[in-house]
Symmetry: C2
Subunit: 196 residues, 2 copies
């Protein structure tokens, strides 16, 4: 299929709509078919967009699948910000575990991490566009929960959050049990705010 | 190349030698060339063994590479057992980080975990032959360190060790920094024995 694109400045909103259509199609194809059967052709057909347009914005299958994944999951794993920082981190971690275990996003993320072991560009994008931004958000949320200063204890906060999310990814990647919502509380319970 | 095999009971020691030769060759090929270029043919040529013999013991490339990996790394990541359980877990975790970051075994294990995301047999073998046995050893070592009863707190001990080793695997799989020997102490320092 062919789409027409405005190349003038007035084309911007149309570009945004097309971009969203392509991301919707990318997410749907990745979650339905898995990364191995995911193709740029498949996304183009589903979105009614040309491959040329897709390649203008995404240089590879990996980058398109990754952005589709991020587009699909970001809202469901946001960090809430209530009066209880403890409840916030537990609620977010519970959402992550539920997304990984009750939707196709768990399979999609392990496939992306798996493929990234043989694809340095995908690994770089995965970290830059998904993992490191999530790590920053988690460090901020755990700084509030633990009462640690984010600026001076950033490395400690990464060490904590890499343990907690690392445990979840480890179980997901290897199929280790149990990985269920109650694991969020079990993990969080190990960590106790310090008085300082 | 052809090897002759005794099929009588007296063949056992010869089988053991051949098995070790094949595992040495598997480990060397995996660590030198990586999993993608690892082949059963390559191991057969290097070991001077027939493919028939290799297939008698290993049903697939994945199982042969995995056993080669285990054969290569097990000694270097053993848990010491001294009068200081704290020193034991820190020494072992330091050894794991050093092996992952200063030898080819880091690349090999992320490639195996990556390939396992598309290969359920490899994932099952990886867990059964490497991850779960190591997890048991870690749970026992952390039970001594933390003063927790292994029989009644096994799930808590898995949750602790999956956090600590999960953090290391997470950084290794995604290339997150820092992953250096001092990270072992930083991780262990978060965990404090309970008096009970």
């Amino acid at each position: 299929m062919e789409e027409t694109e405005k190349r003038s400045g007035r084309g911007k909103p149309r570009d945004e709509n097309l971009r969203k259509t392509i991301l919707d199609a990318s997410a749907a194809l990745l979650l339905e078919s898995g990364y191995r059967r995911f193709t740029i052709e498949g996304v183009a057909a589903r979105a009614g967009a040309s491959k040329v347009t897709i390649y203008k914005w995404w240089p590879s299958k990996g980058s398109l699948a990754l952005d589709g994944y991020i587009h699909a999951v970001t809202d469901s794993i946001a960090f809430p910000h209530t009066a209880s920082p403890r409840a916030d981190v537990e609620a977010q971690l519970t959402s992550v575990i539920l997304a990984f275990t009750t939707t196709a996003s768990g399979r999609a993320i392990v496939e992306l991490i798996g493929a990234a072991q043989e694809d340095p560009d995908l690994k770089r994008d995965l970290v830059a566009r998904l993992i490191q931004p999530r790590r920053e958000l988690a460090a901020g949320a755990f700084a509030r929960f633990l009462g640690w200063d984010l600026a001076t204890r950033r490395n400690d906060l990464y060490a904590v959050t890499d343990q907690i999310y690392g445990a979840v990814y480890h179980r997901l990647l290897l199929g280790l049990e149990p990985l269920e919502p109650s694991f969020a509380r079990r993990l969080i319970d190990f960590w106790v705010p310090t008085d300082n």
